[in-house]
Amino acid sequence: MSTFKQHSVLPGFNLALGFTLLYLSLIVLIPLSAAFIHTAKLSWPEFWNTVTAPRVIASYRLTFGASLAAATVNAFFGLLVAWVLVRYPFPGKRLVDALIDLPFALPTSVAGITLTAIYTGNGWIGQYLEPMGIRIAFTPAGVFVALTFIGLPFVVRTVQPVLEEIEQELEEAAAMLGATRWQTFRHIIFPAVLPALATGFALAFARAIGEYGSVIFIAGNIPMISEITPLLIITKLEQYDYAGATAIATVMLVISFTLLLFINLLQWQARRHNTKV
């Protein structure tokens, strides 16, 4: 035991760690293993054919494409919003800052129906876009809009604390050495926030890939066109195709875990970067 844990005068380690592991196993780990064990019952060709069927491939393309686009837009505007919130004073700033977390707090089904209402042909925004020939609701563009909404807080909330920590002295030194404001941003500020920006981007992307509630209302769910991967799992479940649903779920789990690993690496690197400066 002494090699596993360093000595401490505080009691309760065994109880606390034991309960933590038991709870995690019962609620999270054993249920998650069910997906992999059920998938293992399929033969390899069965599995491969299920997860590479044309309709499934089309759903990957939409899910990943829209998630990537949404995370990119969020990276750009998230950095901008974080910058404005940290650097510029304006009336109502605290209110705006609190509102950033709305997508975390608002249930996804609520987000889904209100976004749909706004972007349909007679909605607040849809009525202006429709005459221009731009349709958002019930198209892949709708998926992108919903995923942008969902991912918005991730970039702002990872970049904001880093921007707050940047030492003004560095910027002053750059200015004294003749750098323009843009050069200072490009060479001093941007490299400092880049690890946080990458983490925020990855978090928004990871969240978008698994998102279901906010997307299904606005997507229209047309097979091969606007059907996301999580919806396919539900569709297969409703047809009692448990094997098919599980196979696709396993693919999603593997992708999520890979992303999680990647995000942990990014955060580890960001921490190292911060302690070095």
């Binding site: 760690l17 249920p31 249930p107 996804t108 002053e172 998102e211 999580p230």
Partner: protein
């Protein structure tokens, strides 16, 4: 002559700091950021209340007081009332083990606690179906004993617990790590036992973090949609949470009622944001070690 003029302009240069952008750049960026936020956050939020009240207050009140809506409110509160205390105990236990002790595999444990965040809600629902559904591991046994988990309340509670596991733990771990263990060690040295130390020393020190995590946990517990949607079976009045009720009404083209129920959840979200903002400052204070 030249030196005296430069010494005169020096204070003027200081008045316009070199680390600030030109006013027009500041205004453009601020305006751009606020426009983006209005378009993507404010408009959808206003949309909920606008659509809910489209046909007036009477229709609104009727929609949120009809029996199925009330049953949905009850189930939502029940699921949260079970999930939150369990995750609270888990959060304290996990944070105690992780923040107060050094052991191998700690960072893996922290990643495992965060795992539910990276699992798609739909997959969460599916794995419980694989275990407790009719074709699942425990399915035949449950059927024999006339018990139901899937398409019943226990399934909804389980799915809710799963998606909210990390919230309280991930608030408490950094908070307790930042505070260190000196006060607890002093309490033990003075003769307190472990439970007394937890109750009289640790919990008062982390109370704001605890509250903060609980607020976030509650918001997710009451709002979860994807995971509970898979295990619920959508039986009106029985296995419908508020979030699912919104979907059912919407799919029946009963838009005003759907938005009326949605507005309750939106109000909950606004309350969550307000409380969160208030408590956030207190948590920052406690991290700095200002136990007031």
């Amino acid at each position: 002559m030249a030196t005296s003029s430069s010494s005169q302009t020096f204070p003027v240069q200081l008045a316009a700091p070199v680390t600030q952008e030109q006013p027009w750049i500041r205004w453009t960026l601020t305006l751009l950021a606020l426009s983006f936020l209005s378009l993507f956050l404010l408009l959808p939020l206003m949309g909920v209340f606008f659509e809910a009240l489209k046909k007036g207050w009477d229709v609104y009140i009727d929609a949120i007081t009809e029996p199925d809506a009330l049953a949905a409110i009850r189930l939502t509160l029940t699921a949260a009332a079970i999930a939150i205390p369990l995750n609270l105990v888990f959060g304290i236990a996990a944070a105690w083990a992780i923040a107060k002790f050094e052991f191998y595999g700690k960072s893996i444990l922290i990643s495992l606690i965060d795992l539910p965040f990276s699992v798609s809600p739909v997959v969460t629902g599916l794995i419980y179906v694989l275990i407790f559904g009719l074709q699942g591991w425990a399915g035949p046994w449950l059927k024999e004993h006339d018990l139901a988990v899937i398409f019943a309340v226990p399934g909804i509670v389980l799915a809710t617990i799963f998606v909210t596991v990390p919230f309280i733990a991930r608030e408490l771990i950094p908070l307790m790590q930042a505070q260190g263990s000196e006060e607890e060690e002093a309490a033990i040295a003075l003769g307190a036992n472990g439970w007394q130390t937890l109750w009289y020393v640790t919990l008062p020190n982390i109370k704001w973090g605890l509250l903060y995590g609980t607020i976030l946990c509650n918001a997710r517990a009451m709002g979860e949609f994807g995971a509970v949607s898979v295990v619920s079976g959508h039986i009106r009045g029985l296995t419908n949470t508020l979030s699912l009720h919104v979907e059912i009404l919407y799919n029946e083209y009963n838009f005003v009622a759907a938005f009326a129920v949605a507005s309750l959840l939106a109000l909950l979200a606004l309350l969550t944001l307000a409380l969160k903002t208030l408590v956030e400052a207190k948590v920052a204070q406690q991290i700095r070690g200002n136990h007031s």
